[in-house]
Symmetry: C2
Subunit: 280 residues, 2 copies
């Protein structure tokens, strides 16, 4: 099964375009769990495991934010390895790693994410050149999501500036990625910030069938109406991501898992007008 | 002691600008070690430990390439954690991670490298904006090396293109980093590819006192004469890095450690005309 097929199946079977983030911050773990698991690595494992359990009816996709695991070093990586075994079959798992490097180093990152962790997709940073994604492109069961325009303010520093006669550096990336996707076995997708719809327009036009990873709804405040408008003519599946707005919605309550589940259900519902177009 | 002071001391006490790479590729580990250590993680630990032992008279700086450790997942990170304890005090350790992310994610990467691993410096990718490096800037004992122009062919795709009226996107990065360094506690340096001296010129001019990390000598074939010419007016310390040309120089010989030591000594010697200017 190709990555695109796997993603399509995950979206269709869950009826949801939502991706739920696994960004376990020890400082924000609900108090009842903290009490039960004094060891940080066990605590974040259990937190993530229960987030998966609580949200699985509402999502087909999980995105693990590598930084939150790496903050605990080897123990954090071990938590993620263990956690991946708990994610139900049929769900798509994205490692949000934003790696970008050359030659054998890129090859080793490919081994780390596709071969060792065995996730379905990884996010990549294209700054060092299109050749940096080459080592990831020989596996039709996998996907890469390459940064174009992001949802932070600083995105305006570089990727939203005019470049080579285009509206932005991001648009230039999109053109190059669209070309590259013609000959790639691995599905090439893009990370496109939802909170920057003006900037996203030309990028989506340059690669209209790209699979998308759209961060920035929920805690980052992306506007769903603008998002639907921006995606009116887009044919690639848009994965719409939220982390903090879902996973920390239960705060320190005893019944935090219910809050997490409700919030995921609410976002799934909010996305429904967009989702319907992509259920096949 | 500030990062700049620590680096100065490491360069002066070793009499060397050389940085030795820890990029352990299981496929290239010398046969005698492979036989002795059938477990991959033990084998790469022992390889790196002996590389450090063989090269320590010739270098004050080690750069660990994260990809090669991550290819083994949590076990690879554990090898690195253990290895850092074997690196002699007074040496500077750089984690080549090329991370670049926003907000709390960048904060977590800072925790991973500065607090958990405790390395002296980390390489960063600035594509998502200058705000992405902010979380790393509050520690005067640490350094960051931010990508500007790199040594791979694909560097021509983006960072060497004209941008905002400058010669290149890399030059624009350098200007922004130079400004940022005025108010930063953490030392902000740049990664500048030695095999691209034409492209490096305007970047060095834009930030003439930047601490530099220069990859691409040795296996990547950077030209030392051109490098010396490019650095004629530069006042920041240029760390000149080599990995494969040193650590795999012993191939499968029984006496591979001697070859590694000799190669490091040879590169140290080659760099001497440049080094002399920076011994204080």
């Amino acid at each position: 099964m190709t990555f695109r097929q796997k993603l399509q199946r995950a979206v269709t079977s869950s009826g949801s375009l939502l991706s739920v983030g696994l960004d376990p911050d020890p400082a924000r773990i609900p108090a009842p769990l903290k009490k039960q698991f004094p060891e940080t690595d066990q605590m974040i494992f259990e937190f993530c495991r229960r987030v998966v359990e609580a949200t699985k009816p509402h999502t087909g996709i999980y995105k693990a934010n590598m930084a939150f695991f790496e903050a605990l070093g080897s123990k954090g990586w071990a938590v993620l390895e263990q956690l991946l075994e708990e994610i139900p079959a049929g769900k798509v798992v994205i490692a949000d790693a934003k790696r970008g490097d050359i030659g054998t180093t890129a090859q080793k990152y490919k081994e780390a994410f596709f071969d060792h962790l065995g996730v379905d997709a990884v996010t990549l940073n294209p700054l060092m050149g299109i050749d940096t994604i080459e080592p990831f492109l020989d596996d039709e069961t996998k996907g890469v999501f390459v940064l174009t325009v992001t949802s932070n303010r600083g995105s305006a520093d570089f990727v939203q500036r005019r470049f080579q006669g285009r509206m932005s550096l991001g648009e230039y990336f999109a053109e190059e990625l669209s070309k590259k996707n013609q000959s790639s076995k691995t599905e090439i997708g893009m990370v496109v910030g939802a909170t920057q719809p003006e900037a996203a327009g030309p990028i989506l036009q340059a690669f209209p069938d790209a699979t998308l990873l759209i961060p920035g709804i929920g805690a980052q405040g992306g506007d769903l109406t603008l998002l639907r408008e921006a995606l009116k003519h887009h044919t690639g599946i848009p994965v719409v991501h939220s982390s903090r707005a879902i996973i920390y919605s239960g705060e320190n309550n005893e019944n935090w898992e219910e809050a997490v589940s409700s919030k995921a259900a609410e976002l799934k519902q909010l996305l429904m007008p967009l989702t319907e177009k992509f259920i096949r």
